[in-house]
Amino acid sequence: MATDTLVRRTPARTRARKAKQAVGLGTRMRRNWQLYAMLAIPLVWLAIFAYWPMYGAIIAFKDYNVVDGILGSRWVGVKHFERFVESYQFWRLLKNTLILHVYELLATFWLPILLALGLNMARRRWYRRSVQLITYAPHFISTVVVVGLIVVIVDPNSGVLNQFLALLGLGPIDVLSNPDYFRHLYVWSGAWQTMGFSAIIYLAALTSVSPELHEAAIVDGASRLRRIWHIDLPAIRPVAVILLILNIGSIMSVGFEKVLLLQNTLNLQTSEVLDTYVYKLGFASQVPQFSYAAAIGLFRSVVGLALLVLANAVARRFAKSSLW
């Protein structure tokens, strides 16, 4: 991610660069000591809360116990990884994780794009403003409250969903404890919550489209839909590709908190994913299995990173825009 390379190299800039290079590296660093001093605090934070845990992830290759600590515990190689891959949980967790997030991606990725195109087309300011104000709002609601909302709405006794079904002579259905409904509940409540806010980034890309392009197209007799297809969509393509890459990179992880909240003993069959399993091994079982849980977590992180790199390579090859 480098903007600096995007800056045009004018002759004046190149000269300035040469002049700077004439000054030694040590001198330049000494001149900027105050900037480094400012960076020091965030860097210490980064070392402690981001890189120390990465180092701590080596317990995945050890038999961690509290007394000996991270360094002192015995090395056991890939024992925990083998145990996980061979366990009966492995395929079920992998399947649930992948299906949930691929479903989410397919069902909801294009929704914010559609919303942004619609908003961009709408000319009446008050209408645009109110749609935006209302659809952005759920983004600021917490996961706990969203799940709480789901609970009260689908409640088998008093929830509005079952009241409605009763009118049609159907139900009552207990949505929360049925594994068949879990994925739909997860994906569509997510769409409700994030679609409006995710449209912002596409709207920003659309506002950068020159109005002259549209005017020229109108003169040539292009219809609205044609202009969307040939002007608006190409304008948001780079943003869409980048968001898609990021989405694919997080296929193994996102949404863990909501999954955990929506989970109950009756829907485990579809709702148990890698992250919730790690949580249970580490915090909700009688004997915490830190090393085994850390191994599963590490497996998840590595696969996620690999997917990100892969998606980026594919995007760079075919869509000609990429993260790096």
Binding site: M1, F140, S142, G282, G297
Partner: protein
Amino acid sequence: MSMATATSSPPGTPAPVRETRSDRIVMICNYTALGLFTLAVLYPLVYVVSASLSDPKNVVSGKVWLWPVGLSVEAFKAIFDYDSIVSGFSNSIVYAVGGALLATALTLLAAYPLSRKGLPGKGLIMALFVFTMMFSGGLIPTYLVVDRLGLLNSRWAIVLPAALAVWNMIITRTFFQSTIPEELVEAAKVDGCTDFGFFWRIVLPLSKPIIAVNMLFYAVAQWNSWFSALIYLTNEHLFPLQLVLRQILIQNQFDPSQVRDTAELIRMKELQEQLKFSLIVIATVPPLLIYPFVQKHFVKGAMVGSLKG
């Protein structure tokens, strides 16, 4: 988008000359679809507010579906008799305000130096930050670090690990790059201004929008967070509101010992179902109150160009 028949088409104004018939149909469909989608987003929110303001009996029997039936504010009064909700509310305010101040400070301190051209080692430091977005040690190792630092069961365990979000840092850095011209820095240097002085007297006053956006993002994130409290805290007096909400709303745990007298308890049992609605309203109001004030900032530029920073 669906061709629905609901009538939220715009009031008639003279159409531009070039507007063809098919374009007008597209436009009407567009307005209708936007309107229907907005109503779909709005409905659950309206339903919850209405239910929280209705008579408890009507809520339990399912008579409420759009507007309040039999006005009553009992459920809101009951909230304030439930001790852990009150303490959760005040804890959440501490976490949100404290967390937002700390995190915004850290974000500005990281973003400004990294926005400056020609700082030796800048690329490497930036890469160190960005890498943590793609790869993390994981839940267990992070927990062990917090444990090792002796932060378990303290307010710091909630605030410190969340004290910087790399994404926000990148947005802030992009803001600095596009609003603080390098010429200004050089002019100030010629006048003998140090980097500290420049940051304090010139950069910060020019950065009010991005400071506001950061404060909002961090405060809302803290207000809405519950998972770190779940794993790092066992002392109930430190629980944030969201964790208390989870117990009552989702796990259906209603703890009578939290209520002080028995007459109250009987009333509370009747109210229990409705309490959920009023709780949802109370927990959602603070973030929704601040957001319109900051909305114009993140629409205007703060998010723009942040992606490929």
